[in-house]
């Protein structure tokens, strides 16, 4: 009989790991709280740097794991340690004994309404990166006017923000903002588009090319300074204030749409649950890897592994690579090597 491996979370990390575990001869069991697989990526429109549809990736992964056991709309109620593994109890009454568990519970998107000064949920034309992707995917959004003359992007919303409880850089938002700015400019060629940033952290393959392209071909303006406050004019346009730190002067501009780059943050529920089975939680609230160089996939407990953004902010390709690595690591562990 094939051996069970429980995977917590049906996002791309859990799906990719399940695919690899199937190939290695195991029975992966995915437990997902939502009613669909794919996590945050399932909501996204296109993925940088190749601009491939996010839906294609989720579809390919779904097809590859048709033989896995998948529990949707199911939560984990408890995990009990045995001498040689775990028993995972699910909200549907099923209990699964196994020797290895993979944590792939991902991240939460920062709740932009917590940064009240940006006016999300207060003013009519403030949206998040996630809202914009949903709109790119065809969702209606009355906050996006038909013919915007000026659009702003605010980087680092809820990230690199100790007051918001998140010291970490969310790392994908810089590139996401550049990508979305280009996509918006393509739809609204006459709109002026501004990106308000503190640093531009464009570290990945081809990211810098996107930046140069955004400047040269699309005329997107990058203003170094964090937006301090957003107000509304009598005409219901947004009045945005920031410091133009390169000029050393305060700056204001009226916009028809403001897109907040909500960062990836930890899920406090996961941290709370992890403590019940004595898994270490890191200072940033994400699950703590055994070490951050050679043991990102491992936890402090034998038989408990990690993949993807449950241990910190990750890009899509990083998440997929970690999922493959985790599957191999689980294989090695189950072989007793």
């Amino acid at each position: 009989m094939k051996e069970n491996v429980v995977i917590i979370g049906g996002g791309i990390a859990g799906m990719e790991a399940a695919r690899q575990l199937l190939l290695l001869g195991y029975t992966p069991i995915i437990v997902e709280k939502k009613d669909h697989l794919g996590g945050h990526v399932a909501r996204w429109h296109k993925l940088f740097p190749d601009m491939a549809p996010a839906g294609d990736l989720v579809r390919r992964l779904s097809e590859a794991i048709s033989e896995a056991n998948i529990f949707l709309e199911t939560r984990i109620t408890s995990i009990n340690r045995l001498s040689n593994g775990y028993v995972v109890m699910l909200s549907n009454g099923v209990s699964i004994p196994c020797r290895a568990v993979l944590g792939a519970s991902g991240f939460r998107l920062f709740d932009a309404s917590k940064k009240e000064e940006y006016g999300y949920g207060v003013y009519n034309h403030v949206i998040t990166n996630s809202d914009l992707e949903a709109w790119f995917n065809g969702a209606e959004d009355p906050r996006i006017v038909a013919d915007p003359k000026a659009v702003g992007f605010v980087h680092c919303v809820g990230s690199r923000d100790l007051k918001a409880g998140n010291s970490q850089c969310s790392k994908v938002c810089c590139m996401t903002a550049v990508k979305q700015a280009i996509e918006l400019k393509e739809r609204f060629p006459d709109a002026r588009i501004y990106c308000f940033y503190m640093d531009l952290r464009l570290f990945g393959k081809k990211y810098e090319d996107f930046y140069i392209n955004a400047q040269q071909e699309y005329g997107i303006q990058f203003i170094r300074g964090r937006v301090s406050e957003v107000g509304e004019t009598a005409e219901e346009r947004l009045q945005v204030k920031a410091e133009d730190t390169l000029s050393g002067k305060p700056l204001k501009v009226q916009l028809d749409l403001l897109v907040l780059m909500s960062g990836m943050v930890c899920n406090p529920e996961v941290a709370e649950f992890a403590r019940t089975i004595r898994l270490d939680v890191d200072s940033d609230g994400f699950l703590k890897s055994l070490d951050n160089v050679g043991g990102i996939n491992r936890s402090n407990q034998p038989g408990f592994f990690y993949a993807g953004a449950c241990t910190g902010t990750k890009t899509v390709p990083e998440t997929l690579a970690e999922a493959r690595a985790a599957a191999l690591d689980i294989h090695r562990y189950l072989l007793g090597k």
């Binding site: 000026a150 501004y194 531009l200 930046y211 140069i212 400047q215 040269q216 005329g219 303006q221 990058f222 170094r224 133009d244 390169l246 000029s247 002067k249 305060p250 700056l251 204001k252 501009v253 009226q254």
Partner: protein, 105 residues
Amino acid sequence: MMDFGFKLSKSATIDLDRAGTERYEKLCALSPDARTCMACGSCSATCTAASFSGMSVRKVILGLQRGQDVRPLLSACMLCGKCTLVCPRGINTRRLILNLSKSYD
């Protein structure tokens, strides 16, 4: 009129809605690479005129984007071209200054 010691200060705020950027757009038509400046400051650091005059290609580009009159900066440029040698984005800064100077003629 009696002087009460009060005066009105001109606002230092940059108002992007009123900043006329026609000159910047015209310059970009002639020197499209102007748009790729990432404000690293290499040009200013190597500029022979900078330490005496405050000349800085970075500030010239930024000033134009904010609708400011950059002629005071330009007048100090000797067109030596050192800034062109160091620009990591490969902007032809010397040609940029020339194109810009012509636009003020």
